[in-house]
């Protein structure tokens, strides 16, 4: 049908694409640029906040919260619901070692927000800027025509996208934010380093036995995979339990009581402890106490779970992915299209928000210099920026996952001592927290 000349098109189904569109609109240098968002799903509108909590939640770091508030979406989230947490305890199932992240100055370490709440907030904000950002719901791109690296006579230097309904669009910059099975990335032929973990994550919304302050995030590394309890409200928490495919299937299908028991024993049971490791751990603990006679945090137990929300149990497979290139001429990948990570560190969506922040920064500078937005010179700046950060985080997360997937004594000893040592060195902990909160 028609050809619409657009400045930037985002093919996306997920949080980062919507927030990217928002952030771009908000930046003053983009005032005269038109942005089109292609969304495969339907428009999600809530009349009223549903009472039941959704089982998919994300841990939003302070840096991401700043990004969201910079274009007004955070206010919508605050008006709906979110939960701030101040402390995080991470400990091992095979030993007494633990690490406690605590912000002394009473700042929030992060926020647990349901994915649906974030989407709704972003959709509301998009409506507010509909003069510059157009959203096409239920539209899927089926074909792409990429430009040649330098202008050839009579061929358009822009990207052409064919939609499912036959219409075509042309744009100066295509941003691919369509998840880890990115169609944009495949169409561009960008190599993706990926492997599947033999794990699935089980999620559920849990009711606690008794109401507590509930501002602590808990994560325990079991040999089968980490189990995490994230606070949602005084009486509710969200479960993310990464375990083998078979165990995950079992957990989802078992009846409620057994499921609750499984969760509680996963957090409380010391069945995996061995005497050898316990003594080795205790030895280091004495040494640390000797050298640094300040407060030593004792291991605390998470609140016990009473029941689980019906129909909130679900599982999905986990894997790792990293695109070899984030950018091509007139193409940029952000979010899960560029990288996919294990949820054990709670960093997946935050990396996506970081991508957006960086991309908008580079595009804004380019626009202020009158550059063609699809030009590689600033896109490679974004790629270098983010690849450095993301590769490090991906490697660290993968390493942690592998390190904690075993109960072989040497590795358990190594990680016990490592964890205890890290817990003792406050500057190191602060560095880790700072890196994770960006």
């Amino acid at each position: 049908r028609g050809m619409m000349g657009q400045k930037a098109v985002l093919g996306g189904v997920w949080l980062p694409s919507t927030s990217s569109a928002k952030q771009q609109r908000h930046d003053t240098h983009f005032c005269d640029k038109k942005i089109l968002l292609l969304e495969a799903g339907p428009k999600k509108v809530w009349e009223k906040l549903p009472e039941t909590y959704s089982n998919r939640v994300s841990s939003i770091s302070p840096g991401s919260a700043t990004l969201l508030s910079s274009f007004g979406a955070w206010d919508h989230i605050c008006n709906m619901r979110y939960r701030a947490f101040r402390r995080m305890q991470v400990w091992d199932a095979c030993s007494e070692a633990l690490i406690m992240f605590d912000k002394d100055n009473l700042d929030d370490m992060g926020y647990i927000v349901e994915n649906d709440v974030i989407m709704c907030a972003l959709t509301k904000q998009l409506e507010a800027v509909s003069d510059r950002v157009t959203v096409l719901y239920r539209s899927k791109a089926v074909g792409y025509t990429w430009p040649y690296p330098f202008p050839m006579t009579d061929s358009s230097p822009w990207v052409h996208i064919t939609l499912g309904d036959g219409s075509t669009l042309q744009t100066k910059l295509l941003i691919g934010a369509d998840g880890h099975n990115s169609g944009v990335r495949q169409a561009a032929g960008i190599q993706n380093v990926s492997w599947n973990y033999d794990q699935s994550a089980v999620v559920a919304t849990l009711h606690l036995s008794e109401a507590t302050e509930n501002n602590v995030a808990w994560q325990r590394f079991l040999p089968s995979g980490p189990i995490a309890l994230l606070p949602l409200s005084d009486t509710l928490s969200s479960l993310v339990w990464s375990t083998s495919h078979e165990h995950a299937a079992e957990l989802v299908s078992m009846d409620e009581e057994k499921f609750v028991d499984a969760i509680n024993s996963a957090f409380w049971s010391d069945a995996n402890h061995t005497d050898f490791i316990d003594s080795a751990g205790a030895m280091l603990q004495y040494a640390v106490a000797f050298l640094k006679p300040t407060k030593v945090s004792a291991r605390q137990l998470p609140p016990s779970v009473a029941r689980v929300d019906a129909r909130s149990r679900m599982s999905f497979p986990l894997g790792l992915g990293h695109a070899a290139e984030y950018v091509r001429p007139r193409l940029a990948l952000i979010g899960d299209a560029a990288h996919r990570v294990h949820p054990l560190a709670g960093q997946g969506v935050n990396m996506g928000f970081g991508d957006i922040s960086s991309l908008v920064h580079h595009l804004s500078a380019a626009a202020f210099n009158g550059k063609d937005l699809g030009s590689m010179s600033h896109l490679t700046g974004y790629e270098t920026d983010r690849q450095r950060h993301n590769t490090a985080l991906l490697a660290a997360t993968d390493l942690l996952k592998r390190l904690y997937s075993t109960s072989a004594t040497p590795l358990v000893l190594l990680r016990t001592w490592g964890l205890q040592a890290t817990n003792a060195v406050s500057p190191l902990k602060e560095q880790i927290m700072a890196f994770a909160s960006k």
Binding site: T28, P149, W158, F368, N369, G370
Partner: protein, 370 residues
Amino acid sequence: MWGGSKLSCSGNRFLGVVISRYRGTQTECTRLITSAVYSENQFSWTPQTKPWVFSEYRIMWFKSYRMTFACLNRIKIYRYPWTRLYSTSRTTVDSSEVKTFLALAHRWWDEQGIYAPLHSMNDLRVPFIRDNLLKTVADHQPGKPLSGMKILDVGCGGGLLTEPLGRLGASVTGIDPVDENIKTAQHHKSFDPILDKRIEYRACSLEEIVEETTEAFDAVVASEVVEHVIDLETFIQCCCQVLKPGGSLFITTINKTQLSYALGIVFAEQIAGIVPKGTHTWEKFVSPEKLESILESNGLSVQSVAGMLYNPFSGYWHWSENTSLNYAAHAVKSGVQDHPVPDEFVFKGETEELRGQDSTNAGAQEELKK
């Protein structure tokens, strides 16, 4: 009306270069111009409404040391007294330079190609122009900081600098004596409807713009141009003429030093191939001091001069204190219309009176020389 130019008939391929062109006769013009460039035939002159142009061409032939005199007689000459204050009788376009650029006209927009250093120079020169122009306005439209400004890009080539300025909101006129460059530039901007409206390209010389308009532009940009012109003095005079009072002139060029010979000619052209061979002639490089003195003597007060350094390994440019290689200069035309010397003398203070006297003397000497 269009005019062709006379060509040398004595065997050296001297290419006539100054070709005026009016809108509407573009295709005819391009045909003529292309053949003018390549063939050695002569064309008859069709004199029409701008007779003093011909005397300029005649003088161009006298001044250029490469010309042969054989075909002078065939040019019809109309003598008319001219009433302009400055002499525009000399052209600044060097035809041999035209030839060099002609061969590379289609390579402009390959960002990783031979013009890559010029593409990355935009990271310095666009902010330089933009920020200095923004200083002259009280506030600006976000998203289009240069909107409302009229800019002339002299020697625009393929439009590498013209397009960013257009994107920032300015109405830009890009001129270049090489027609192939203008064609490339036109083709490239045609894909973007917004740029298409904001930018206008013309294959002509600065002198022709001077004839048509005076004091029409808020800014004139001559980036990597002054090291290619024959007569710098005339060039600067022409720039000054088309500038509005208070308008800005931006120049980026190469310094004439031993270092610039070693790095700019020997290394860049002959060894590393960063710049195509034969692009630059060391004798035509201009030192900042010489440029400043020419600017000041033509009523343009120099606001800033900054050095630029190119890192061939990273492909990026950097600002630098050191002006011994590349540098950028920003000058502003004084706000008063007339010849600057008497006004300096009259309006400024006592110490500057002395300076005014000196420049009057210098001015008098220059006029005597002429």
